[in-house]
Symmetry: C2
Subunit: 200 residues, 2 copies
Amino acid sequence: MNVHSMLPTVTPHEKPDKREAILDAALELFAERGFHGTAVPLVAERAKVGAGTIYRYFESKEALVNALYQREKQALGAAIVDAFPFDSPPRAQFHFFWDRISVYALAHPTELAFLELHHHAPYLDATSRAVEEAVLAPAFVFFQNAIEAQVVKPLDPMLLGALVWGAFTGLVRAAREGRLPLTPESLLRAEECCWEAIRR
Amino acid sequence: MNVHSMLPTVTPHEKPDKREAILDAALELFAERGFHGTAVPLVAERAKVGAGTIYRYFESKEALVNALYQREKQALGAAIVDAFPFDSPPRAQFHFFWDRISVYALAHPTELAFLELHHHAPYLDATSRAVEEAVLAPAFVFFQNAIEAQVVKPLDPMLLGALVWGAFTGLVRAAREGRLPLTPESLLRAEECCWEAIRR
DNA sequence: CGTATCGGGATGAACGTTCATTCCTATCGG
DNA sequence: CCGATAGGAATGAACGTTCATCCCGATACG
């Protein structure tokens, strides 16, 4: 065996994975019409693959939505945590967090809509739940620290998290419904509101 | 025609309306499994009526979910607006509002879950959207007044509304997932947070 | 170097199931 | 008795899933 025989041959261009194409198609459709409202052959059509091809990559429709949920939740988590300023004071950390989810919301509205719509759905499996928990954990730690530093109200971190995330989500939803524009300015104003909601 | 002929006859006790039974059954199932995830015969079984009976009261599954949405949205709106202290200062009005939705959330968790899950769904018709708008309007007026009275930040009333409603919704959702208890105390703390978020 | 053979990914028509809806029969109050 | 109402088996469409077949690049062979 020489080195060349072990490397894949050139594979000139065909590698943009069908698996990814299926996930991308499923993302749009599930975000728009929900899990039960989306027919598998429709996903295949949008992904430009045969209906049967989906079952070469995913065991079932449920396995597909779980794989997608995990991909998107992890991407969101990574977008938030990457380069997190662990040593900055809480207010700066909060700004960092808010800025990151704002950028994410503006760049990936469909992904956010999908995650929101499928949050805690009964067809999500244990792995999806575990990913959910793992992404949630850093926020919990942040609130804990901020409370100990006495800059944030001494309330259940879960309550604080639910308020802030709920408020952000409400904003994004209203924007999606065309009730208000989602601009960097309005997001900054909303950040001030949320900080004043939780600060001591 | 005399007066008696115009009044309904005695109807001794059997009036627990099948229509209501169907709506009640649909409420639980739609809240739990969503619109597309709920089979009509299952609704019939839960309501203890024949499958065909549903179609004596509702033109279609879509008509059923719309009738239910309108019933629940209007009940929520009525619960909030009834006896609203129009002449009180904004802070008292906000407290009244928060108290009412808190009581509603504690007494009608399934109804709230249904409304949240079906919010802005594509199968909701023009009437449902109109009801949605009508229930939203008073909140809009409240924020407008509170801004003019200079006790609330001069931001888009829609943004303020989205933040507060989103925060409340986040709380209720977290409670439903068992992440935190939904007690009168925690709801009061959350109210303070939300007021500080929007107050000038 | 050209041709035959191979193998695994991709396919979409077809399958059995389940769905929303219909319709005919049974029931019941008047 | 009769008209209206309720019931649930029947129905056709649409669903998720399967599988016999196709396709195409790689390899073996003459």
